[in-house]
């Protein structure tokens, strides 16, 4: 059961095919699988459907896969930070399925938990509800949303052991656990692979059963909105 691979490209070897669906972790540029995205660019795989809360920015994260036109469809909640995305979307080259953020997260979690659909009140009475089954529970309307069952999950964690037990750091956890859960195969990039036993079993955020391949590497971890306060404000 060897899960550790030498590079992001090696970790994706044999898993990619045109037209596949990929679930990606990250929120904005925080906690995105930047090394695996670069490896996807290098692979040339195309016609991808990518479920990810955001679409990166121009020149970084999923923005790179947009520039090379490898993405056919995005499933996201917010895509406002990316000029190339808007250009392709407005010209009809790129499909976009808006999902409320919590619905997207739950669709991933549900897919990973073997739940093909669930009812939620998010989006009832809005455009999001169009074409979806409505059902009443306790006198209130709920809409049916479907679980996401992706061909591949690409996620970023802080630390892993060689069995794939993962620990995330601060708000870089975000969509990574649900994205990891919903793929047939999950590939994880981490900042550090530690010895077995170095992670406290009570402090594992995602157990290794969800993780099939691991790669360690250097992360740029770009900041999208650098905001600070002055010392004298304290």
């Amino acid at each position: 059961m060897k899960k550790v691979y030498g590079s992001a490209s090696e970790a994706l070897d044999g898993l990619l095919f045109d037209g596949m669906q990929i679930a990606a972790g990250g929120f904005g540029l925080c906690g995105i699988p930047e090394l695996l995205i670069d490896a996807l660019v290098d692979s040339g795989v195309k016609d991808l459907t990518v479920a990810s809360n955001n679409a990166g920015v121009d020149g970084f994260g999923l923005g790179k896969l947009l520039e090379t036109k490898q993405i056919k469809k995005m499933m996201s909640s917010y895509v406002g930070e990316n000029a190339e995305f808007m250009r392709q979307y407005l010209s009809g080259e790129l499909e976009l399925e808006f999902n409320p953020q919590g619905t997207l997260a739950e669709r991933m979690r549900a897919g990973g938990a073997g739940i093909p659909g669930f009812y939620t009140k998010t989006g009832v009475g809005t455009q999001i509800a169009e074409g979806k089954e409505v059902k009443q529970f306790r006198g209130e309307d709920y809409i049916l949303e479907e679980g996401i069952f992706a061909d591949l999950s690409i996620v970023k964690a802080w630390k892993a052991d060689d069995t794939g037990n993962l620990v995330f750091r601060k708000t870089a956890r975000n969509f990574n656990p649900p994205a990891a859960m919903c793929g047939k195969v999950c590939v994880v990039e981490v900042e550090e692979i530690v010895e077995r036993g170095a992670l406290d079993p009570d402090h594992i955020h995602l157990p290794g059963i969800y993780v099939h391949r691991i790669v360690q590497g250097q992360h740029e971890k770009r900041i999208e909105q650098r905001t600070t306060r002055k010392r004298e404000d304290a």
Binding site: N53, G80, Q101, A105, E106, M108, K121, G125, I223, T227
Partner: protein, 212 residues
């Protein structure tokens, strides 16, 4: 109607919104004026949620102490507090959808007299997405909108019916504008308070929605 309207400025609206918060509440603040509410909670024990996966959101970091792994839902660098906890997005929206968050304070483009809220898209203009707004208004205990009473053309943003695509249907509980405070009640909106120097008649004159 370009004349300068009396009433509260952004900070006074935020201060008034902070009065809505009670000791012990878990609260989600939206982007814009709602973010300023955090400056006015005073001694109250309020825990701020950031829907990207954090309870106990702290202030912006000092220069040089920014952490790319620690951002808020607006993607701004922030800090943690002694009480902070982190969790994944599914758990975060579980607590939102599950009604564990007592209140959300949000901006809006339009609010209707039946509590309909529109704040995520303008047809024909750039559509960026709803983010977590639809989940928040559907799930939290109380939805408080903070916005200007009129748009830049002087038209009422409190309407009989929303013209823009909805974020949520019948979800708004209270509206705080530069002119005053209004509640969504049976049959329309009820004036709860007037801003300094603003009369009820002036609020009525500036409002398209039915005032009961």
């Amino acid at each position: 109607m370009a004349a300068e309207i009396k009433g509260w400025d952004r900070n006074q609206m935020a201060a008034r919104a902070a009065e809505e918060l009670e000791d012990g509440m878990y609260v989600n603040l939206g982007i814009g004026i709602p973010t300023l509410v955090a400056n006015y909670v005073g001694d109250k024990d309020i825990t701020l949620q950031s829907e990207n996966g954090m309870l106990g959101m702290g202030p912006f970091p000092f220069e040089g102490e920014e952490d790319p792994d620690l951002i808020n839902a607006g993607k701004q660098t922030i800090t943690e507090l002694a009480r902070t906890s982190y969790f994944d997005s599914a758990t975060s929206f579980g607590m939102i959808r599950g009604g564990k968050i007592a209140a959300a304070i949000l901006g809006a483009m339009e609010v209707a007299e039946n509590g309909d809220l529109a704040n995520w898209m303008i047809p024909g203009k750039l559509v960026k997405g709803m983010g977590g707004a639809m989940d928040l208004v559907a799930g939290v205990g109380r939805v408080i909108v903070v916005m200007d009473h009129t748009n830049k053309h002087g038209d009422s943003k409190l309407l009989k019916a929303c013209t823009l695509p909805l974020t949520g249907k019948g979800v708004v509980d209270r509206i705080i504008t530069n002119l005053g405070v209004l509640d969504v009640v049976d049959g329309g909106l009820r004036i709860v308070a007037c801003a300094d120097g603003v009369s009820e008649d002036e609020i009525r004159a500036a409002t398209e929605a039915t005032i009961v």
